[in-house]
């Protein structure tokens, strides 16, 4: 039996590898995902999508041979409220009404009891268009080859400035410039997007879905249906992976299911197959980052001018916040006395790009970490030594002017990563061996980086999150949050925090259902905020619950779990409910200026140094990652097995982004929207990933936790490309880097290169 009164650092449940709350259901095949659910009388829904990138809809025709009178048909005119996916701006329609702005844009919805007939019906709908010019790159959008959004194709612009950048160029011994690019990336959660909706005038609308943020969907559907808030209920069901891909899109697919259910009066399930999910839903923003850096000859960073451009796709969705995170992380974990970052998110005619683990930071950190290796080469300083001379220290300020209050020691973090990977010896040995005639060249490279925990700037204050705890009639403690589980471990760590705080067994705590009718809004499950921010709220709510029970006289110090359960059960029997709430309060000293982009961008940062070792085969241009060392400081590790799993999984996605995952576009449409043709790492492509944590508890996170989930996405791509440069002596500055990309640069002589590129 766990006893009450554990102190920080002496926890009995926090920090332990307790089993995943929903783990038994998952390993037994009992966990119920959206496509596992069926309601009586349920219809299936499907989507008719745009076949062109941009234009005006002239007419819709329903082809021969389909019993159209059996179908429920929904167009934009059937939307009772606003035709909008409610996010930041108001530009993303739920169904295209008059204009389409990207291939696969939803235009019309069909529902029918027979799935097979439904597919034929979708194919039999003909949409006639007047095609308009479209733009398919940052450059085309920037040049305004066609103006496809607003007046200038620009979703959002930031200017972040520190010091006097214009004065540094004349003082510089060296100026190093570079341009870096990253491609789109598909989330490829193993479970496709899906939702089921049911509606009746009495009960209102209920949507069950595979989703991250129940209250985002709630907000969007209230707006779209025009129903009162209490008549819209969103329930998250077991969700098979998300990675950001189920942050915004569930409002779309949930909205579609809702429209069909409201029109038909029948429950409707809309579940995408893989091809539709890949073609139609959001991806990671492609990026282009330009660096110009002023340096002393001994490698001190004097100042920099950066220009970041993101391709946002056809609608603004979350691009402004992705751009914000890209901007703030662009300087990496280094001290910059002077820096200016100009950033823009551009509209193009691709399906909208959206949230994906890292949210802009992987793009700008790829650029700075490749750029640091270019600088090292230009100055003749070792890459680790150049970084060491510029790593942020406590008391120094970040690019937003935030004073580092945390007790960080990045020098030590890097030293550990270099030692664990045997970096120096290998760097020297590989360089010597690569001089030989062999076709296989080896390289080792590193990346140092940071990732802000939680919403940026004033974001957490605006969210104003609320978490609660109550007890069940059986006397079990229950965590009530809208923070969702989709593999990362939310259920487990929040129950650990609650159990630890209450001083009871982990098994005596359960999660409330992720249902907007039951749980308060603890904010979206994004931005590495669950452990640190929501965890802290659960901690406070648990403290309140315990106080109430103690004050009631039903519970005495030194209680056992059994005594707690009895007391809780008695309290509920006597008073009806036992509930405690906790609302977000910003840690002291957190100030943010949204206009100037100055101040405390994040309450805390996670810090890391990753080292990748690769072999490049000059005959096939295949790159194999042979070893991967990931050293990070994420505050207190709440559950070591889950935390290691987060890092390893993120590293694998980063390896995929760097070396395998290329979205092939044509006319704004994904051409390789199959798992056969869009390649993610298999069990034979991932090296041993060696994960190490430095634990420095953060005073304002739950039991010292900071954010962890996104961090591991940031480091692998630059570390791997730095290793490839070490192996080959060639500099590659864009990802993904596939063998054919290397072939074009390395195997083809200059005059032939253009021909190959065609």
């Amino acid at each position: 039996m766990a006893r009450a009164g554990a102190r920080l650092g002496q926890e009995k449940i926090v920090g332990k590898p307790v089993l995943r709350k929903e783990g038994v259901a998952k390993v037994c095949g009992m966990a119920q995902y959206i496509d596992d659910l069926t309601l009586p009388g349920m219809l299936y829904g499907a989507t008719v999508r745009s076949s062109i990138a941009r234009g005006r809809i002239l007419g819709i025709e329903f082809g021969e041979g389909i019993p159209w009178d059996e179908f429920v048909i929904v167009t934009a005119t059937d939307i009772p409220g606003e035709n909008e996916i409610a996010l930041i701006n108001h530009d993303w329609p739920c169904l295209a009404a008059e204009f389409v702005n990207h291939p696969e844009e939803p235009i019309l919805l069909l529902a029918h009891p027979d799935r097979h007939l439904l597919a034929k019906a979708v194919a039999a709908v003909r949409v006639r268009y007047e095609e308009w010019p479209a733009v398919f790159s940052i450059e085309e959008s920037e040049r305004r080859d066609a103006v496809v959004w607003g007046e200038d194709n620009v979703f959002k612009t930031f200017l972040m400035e520190k010091g006097d950048v214009d004065a540094v160029w004349s003082q510089a011994d060296r100026i190093v410039e570079g341009e870096y690019a990253t491609g789109a990336q598909e989330h490829l959660y193993i479970e496709n997007n899906g939702a089921i909706a049911a509606y009746s005038a009495d009960e209102g609308l209920t949507v069950w879905g595979s989703l991250q943020c129940p209250f985002y969907v709630h907000k969007s559907l209230v707006k779209m249906t025009g129903l009162p808030e209490e008549k819209v209920r969103i329930v998250q069901v077991e969700t098979g992976g998300a990675f950001g891909g189920k942050e915004d899109y569930p409002s779309m697919i949930g909205g579609h299911a809702a429209l069909l259910a409201m029109k038909s009066g029948m429950p409707v399930k809309v579940v995408y197959d893989r091809a539709e999910d890949m073609a139609a839903t959001t991806k990671r923003h492609p990026s282009r980052v330009r660096h110009r850096t002023a340096l002393t000859r001994d490698g001190k960073l004097l100042g920099a001018e950066l220009e970041i451009a993101l391709d946002g796709g056809a609608y603004s969705t979350l691009s402004s916040t992705v751009l914000s995170r890209a901007t703030i992380h662009a300087g990496g974990p280094y001290y910059w006395p002077n820096i200016r970052v100009r950033s823009k998110a551009f509209a193009t005619n691709y399906p909208p790009h959206g949230a994906f683990r890292g949210f802009g930071a992987p793009q700008s950190l790829f650029a700075i970490e490749r750029h640091m290796d270019h600088i090292a080469e230009a100055l003749g300083i070792a890459p680790d030594e150049l970084r060491r001379r510029n790593l942020l220290k406590p008391g120094q300020t970040t690019t937003t002017g935030q004073v580092i209050q945390e007790d960080i020691d990045l020098d030590h973090l890097m030293g550990r990563a270099l030692a664990e990977s045997d970096y120096h010896a290998k760097r020297e040995r590989f360089a010597r061996e690569n001089a030989g005639a062999g076709m296989k060249k080896k390289g080792i490279g590193l990346a140092a980086f940071l990732h802000g925990s939680g919403f940026t700037g004033s974001g957490e204050r605006y969210l104003n999150s609320l978490a609660a705890m109550d007890v069940t009639a059986e006397g079990k403690a229950r965590v009530l949050v809208s923070s969702t589980e989709f593999g990362q471990g939310t259920n487990t760590i929040l129950c650990q925090i609650a159990a630890e705080t209450l001083g009871i067994d982990y098994d005596a705590v359960e999660m409330g259902p992720p249902d907007t009718n039951v749980v308060p809004n603890s904010g979206p499950t994004v931005a590495s905020r669950t452990s640190m921010v929501v965890g802290k709220l659960v901690h406070s709510a648990a403290v309140g619950l315990k106080k109430t029970l103690m004050a009631s006289g039903l519970l005495r110090e030194g209680y056992s779990t059994g005594e707690f359960v009895t007391a809780a059960r008695t309290y509920v029997a006597q008073h009806g409910t036992l509930r405690s709430e906790s609302r977000y309060e910003a840690p002291p000293g957190v100030h943010w200026d949204d206009q100037q982009y100055r101040g405390e961008a994040y309450a805390a940062y996670a810090w890391a140094v990753y080292v990748a070792e690769v072999t490049v085969d000059l005959a096939t241009f295949a790159v194999v990652v042979d070893d991967f060392v990931a050293v990070q400081e994420v505050g207190r590790v709440l559950n070591p097995v889950l935390a290691i799993g987060q890092i390893e999984g993120g590293v694998a996605q980063g390896i995929g982004w760097a070396l395998y995952e290329k979205v092939v576009w044509d006319g704004g449409r994904m051409q390789n929207n199959q798992m056969t043709n869009y390649i993610i790492p298999t069990s034979q492509d991932i090296p041993r990933i060696r994960v190490f944590f430095e634990e420095r508890p953060f005073g304002h996170g739950a039991y010292g936790a900071k954010g962890i989930g996104e961090l591991p996405m940031d480091g692998p791509a630059p570390a791997i490309l730095n290793a490839i440069a070490h192996a080959t002596g060639k500099q590659f500055d864009s990802v993904p880097l596939l063998p054919e990309d290397m072939f074009r640069t390395m195997a083809v002589r200059e005059p032939e290169r253009e021909a190959v590129a065609l």
Binding site: G240, G487, I686
Partner: protein
């Protein structure tokens, strides 16, 4: 083509049903027999989320027409073990963090059990090869490898 009658032995139980001959075994298991533990990830035999054993062989049930499974012995994740009596690989996945979102897990477990029946002591290379038809997007595979290694070393009686 009209519906045909099929009988399959699924997780040791004889199941009779009428289905279109080209109906996917995956759909028959999930929709006709309510065995929703077997998942669909891609529908083209690439991800392995729908892996089941057909007469002891590991197959992607999205690529098998039910006509081909007539009279066959089928084993799904539900047949490996139950919440009351976990199979060694299920317990090991639970303990080692081999399951995150859980979507690849049923197929991954069936593939792992299949591997351990053919090879009592697979080394890491054999584990990597044995699971190379099953994609996982959450774990980066390390916890899964560790789970299979733990299952190898656990007591033999519940290895199925």
């Amino acid at each position: 083509m009209s519906l045909q009658h099929y009988s399959l032995r699924v997780n040791g139980k004889l199941r009779e049903l009428d289905a279109h001959p080209m109906a996917r075994l995956l759909d028959v298991l999930r929709c006709e027999l309510q065995l929703t533990g077997t998942k669909e990830g891609c529908g083209e035999g690439e991800c392995g989320a729908c892996s089941v054993l057909l007469n002891g062989e590991l197959v992607n049930s999205c690529l098998v027409p039910v006509a081909q499974a007539d009279g066959a012995e089928i084993e799904t994740v539900e047949g490996l073990g139950s919440d009351r009596r976990l199979h060694a690989v299920q317990r090991a996945f639970l303990e080692c963090g081999g399951a995150q979102c859980g979507m690849c897990t049923p197929g991954m477990l069936v593939a792992s059990a299949h591997l351990l029946r053919r090879n009592l002591r697979p080394d890491l290379a054999a584990i990597r090869e044995g699971l190379n038809g099953n994609l996982c997007r959450c774990t980066g595979y390390m916890r899964i490898f560790e789970a299979v290694e733990r299952a190898v070393n656990s007591a033999g009686e519940d290895r199925g």
